[in-house]
Amino acid sequence: MDWQGQKGAEIVMQIMLVVFAIAGLGTGYTIGSFPTMMLTFAGGVVLTALITVPNWPFFNRHPLKWLDPSEAERHPKPQVDVAAASKKKAPKHK
């Protein structure tokens, strides 16, 4: 998931769980059946988990732009020489 996707997944999770809780409480109270409330909420939890937990493609619509390999070569990582560990070597810049 990308950053936007993570934020979206969190919001979707919170809203879905609260909606299923209210729906469960409402139906259970009006019908007068406690198991109805519990089963509605349990079903809601499973559905929410299926939608928000796995790494679905629609959470990856704003993928991070990593640097092009050619651009990266022009800025090589600094080399650390183990043999000359006592002396500090300045890193090479271009």
Binding site: M1, Q6, K7, A9, E10, M13, Q14, L17, V18, A21, G24, L25, G28, Y29, I31, G32, S33, F34, M37, F41, V45, T48, A49, T52, V53, P54, N55
Partner: protein
Amino acid sequence: MHSFGYRANAVVTFAVTILAVMCGMASLSDNFNSPSPTADVKVLNINWFQKQPNGNDEVSLTLNISADLSSLFTWNAKQVFVFVAAEYETPQNALNQVSLWDGIIQSKEHAKFWIHTTNKYRFTDQGNNLRGKDFNLTLHWHIMPKTGKMFADKIVMTGYSLPEEYR
């Protein structure tokens, strides 16, 4: 929301927290119920009335207990524990309560009942104060919830009395 495990943990913990809130609200909804139970207990017969070898009075009664407790059952009621107690005053104790019968009602359908029975538990005094004693019979109930607060109440019925002499 950074990894599968993180999101799975978030869903589960938030769901459990919400479940606790739902159970609290279910218990609060019991306060909207205004119950109207009725009960009547008749003493059909005094079977025997003796002074035991240890010096305590004991009496055996046949009771007819009828009640309609169906209005006590809400959606959050698991079962109702009901018992009948005899209450009276003696020189030693300001209040004596002796439980004579109890039962458990597990559904609204069984809440309207009558039962014809001798006392399930012995009606024994601490002493020999029962001759000619006036007593109340009180029907107590405890509504045991599925979640949350337990409510208890009672109906007091007065006007019962024991004979002057042992039989």
